[in-house]
């Protein structure tokens, strides 16, 4: 197997007495989409900044695209694309000028670059906006431009810090389609997000809580490990009173209202759809329909955060 695209070994960063990133280790293979999840302030951006050579690690090592971030940050910077959390292009300049500037910043020039700039404009569906002033464009288009500026130099690794914050769902879907295409062509993607539905697009997910990487696996494996129980979606009438009678019975882990119905989390050994329907009906509910639901990453996230600190381990 070739060298991983990103490798972090016992990476830590301290700001004064605050440990923003605490002993984080992971590796990301070439062409993988690696999602980095966590609440605000969990240490996601700090990790990205260390990996991009923007922030020196307090302890530990990291290699990105084959270069050490401590000893060769310049080589790291030349091989990566970075889209920061805050939109940071030049709003007073036209779209095309932003592309040209960032191309120049990466040392690109000449006819090859002109062709590449056109290609990126086409890829990011910006051909009609090329002369528009960036500040006049809506968030979704700006975000495509930011992405375009980050991939101009065909980076081996692309870092995206909350790339879809404030972008509408349709644009988000387009964005992810594009990201997956980039990954298929061999670009390694490291993305932070707090949209848990988006994390499903990732090959693997790392979960950050308070600076520590507490879980790391594929979305499916994480669900299996942290939500081993059955999730059931229930519809029917008079559910509210019947649900109250279920609470506290052995094997019933959670009962949550969900739309007009209920979401139940139950121990798989003790309950199934039929027994739940039966119990609810006998407690007074009518027209009960029970469907087995899929656990979401949100369930995983809540389960991980609910764990006591000592029990968390990657």
């Amino acid at each position: 197997m070739s060298e991983p695209s990103i490798e972090a070994v016992h990476l830590s960063r301290r700001f004064g007495s605050f440990l923003a990133v605490d002993d984080v280790s992971f590796s990301v293979a070439r062409g993988e989409i690696f999602g980095y999840l966590g609440a605000n302030g969990a240490g996601k951006s700090t990790t990205i900044r260390m990996l991009c050579g923007l922030l020196a690690p307090t302890a530990g090592q990291a290699r990105v695209a084959g270069f050490d971030v401590k000893t060769a940050p310049e080589s790291v910077k030349a091989s990566i694309g970075y889209m920061s959390q805050k939109f940071s292009l030049y709003l007073d300049l036209p779209v095309r000028a932003n592309i040209e500037f960032f191309g120049g910043a990466y040392g690109l020039s000449g006819p090859d670059f002109a062709a590449r700039a056109d290609e990126v404009l086409r890829l990011c569906d910006l051909e009609h906006e090329r002369d528009a002033i960036t500040g006049s464009l809506p968030g979704g288009i700006r975000q495509r431009l930011a992405l375009g500026c980050a991939i101009l130099h065909r980076p081996a690794v692309l870092f995206l810090d909350e790339p879809t914050a404030g972008v509408d769902p349709v644009a988000r879907r387009h964005f992810w389609r594009f990201i997956r295409a980039l990954a298929r062509e061999g670009t390694t993607i490291f993305v932070t997000t707090h949209y848990l539905d988006e994390a499903e697009y990732c090959g693997r997910i790392g979960l950050m809580v308070d600076g520590r990487l507490v879980a790391l696996d594929t979305p499916g494996a994480l669900k299996k490990r942290y939500v081993p129980d059955r999730v059931l979606a229930v519809r029917g009438r008079n559910l509210a009173e019947a649900a109250a009678s279920l609470r506290g019975r052995p094997g019933i882990i959670a009962v949550e209202p969900f739309g007009a119905g209920l979401h139940l989390q139950v121990a798989a050994a003790e309950w199934n759809a039929d027994s739940v329907a039966h119990a609810l009906t006998s407690a007074g509910a009518q027209a009960v329909e029970v469907e087995a639901g899929d656990p979401t990453l949100e369930d995983v996230f809540l389960a991980v955060v609910a764990q006591p600190r000592e029990a968390r381990a990657p």
Partner: protein
């Protein structure tokens, strides 16, 4: 592509982006080009240290031929204008209200005393609130009264001692000639420091500095890319100010014009470096603007020798002024424009400006950390 080539591409990208920012922001252009010209016109026309038609109250207690002759002598020229012929109370009231700046009191018996061969004593009451004004009034009155005395003793012959004055370089004592070179320095300093301080701190505020740091653009490339466009703008500004001075105020360039622009170039690099240094440290546009204005405006106005001669300053301020680049530029500008001085005399100014420019640029680049936090 090899390293130097990439270096040039990056500097070029930074610089042409900056040019686009400037072209799209009329405020920058106004600040750089229109403001200095407007200020030059206001100061050039408006600020004159040469006073005439000074309002004077006359208190003639004698009402004699002699007293009238003195009053005539004082008011005959364009220096003084009789604002009133009145009593002491009125004179004091008028001075307090600013309707008059001085009062000339001639006592009763003035003519009799003179005729008897005693001293004729007249009194001058001066508004001393503005020292410069008061000094001018004193010297003007002194001259006029001296002439009147000479006339009275009726010396047909020349007085035994006479000073013949030849004023070099600015014989008509025109303030414009004295002001324009100084003003040019002041305006260049303020605009150059403010413009760079704003543009770099703007990148911090916008978050684009982080984006730049994540790219392979080096700090020297950022510094040069920021500097070059404003250097061009500054040279244009200097050209404009010198041209306005020459065309409208008849300010000559008696020395070498290339030397003038070369000194201007050195001075501008230093001022741009100062703005850069401020914005590297301040990181916020508000702080950078204030620090930029303070550090350029006050020293170049007060410590450069533009308004107050450096020789008149307390020793500590004289020492302080030796690290103010505007001091050397003012000296060089006046030398080149008014006296036609060349390198043999001005080389010290050139050396001082070069040292400052290099030092501040090295300092700014060194303090410019390409890491966050």
């Amino acid at each position: 592509m090899n390293r130097p080539e990439r270096f040039l591409v990056r500097v070029g990208a930074m610089a042409s982006k900056e040019v686009m920012h400037i072209r799209r922001d009329p405020r920058t252009l106004y600040m750089a080009l229109a403001m200095p010209v407007v200020m030059l016109l206001i100061f050039g026309f408006g600020v004159s240290f040469d006073m005439d038609h000074i309002p004077l109250v006359v208190l003639d207690g004698d009402r004699s031929d002699a007293s009238r002759s003195l009053i005539r002598a004082v008011s005959a020229g364009h220096e003084f204008q009789i604002a009133a012929d009145s009593d002491e109370a009125t004179a004091l009231r008028m001075i307090r209200r600013g309707q008059a700046l001085a009062a000339l009191a001639i006592p009763t018996n003035y003519e009799r005393d003179l005729a008897a061969g005693r001293d004729g004593e007249v009194q001058l009451i001066v508004d001393g609130a503005d020292g410069v004004v008061a000094n001018q009034i004193l010297s003007k009155i002194d001259g006029l009264v001296r002439a009147e005395s000479l006339r009275r003793i009726d010396v047909a012959a020349e007085p035994p001692l006479q000073v013949k004055v030849f004023t070099l370089f600015n014989p008509e004592a025109r303030s414009a000639l004295f002001m324009v070179p100084g003003l040019a320095v002041y305006l260049l300093a303020v605009a150059a420091v403010l413009l760079t301080a704003l543009t770099v701190s703007g990148e911090w505020e916008r978050g684009s500095m982080e984006q730049l740091f994540a790219s392979p653009v080096g700090r020297l490339e950022i510094v040069l890319g920021k500097l070059l466009p404003y250097l061009g703008l500054g040279m244009l500004q200097l050209l404009l100010v010198v041209a306005v001075g020459a065309v409208i105020f008849d300010v000559p360039i008696r020395g070498s014009t290339p030397l003038l622009f070369f000194v201007g170039f050195l001075f501008l690099v230093g001022m741009l470096g100062q703005g850069l240094f401020i914005s590297v440290i301040a990181r916020s546009q508000l702080v950078a603007t204030q620090a930029g204005a303070l550090s350029s405006l006050l020293p170049s106005l007060l410590l450069s020798g533009m308004l107050v001669p450096i020789e008149n300053m307390p020793r500590i301020l004289q020492a302080l002024s030796s690290v103010i680049p505007a001091r050397y530029f003012v000296h060089a500008m006046r030398g080149i424009m008014l006296k036609g001085t060349g390198l043999t005399i001005l080389w010290t100014d050139l050396v001082a400006l070069t040292i400052f420019a290099l030092a501040i640029l090295i300092l700014a680049t060194a303090r410019f950390r390409r890491r966050l936090a």
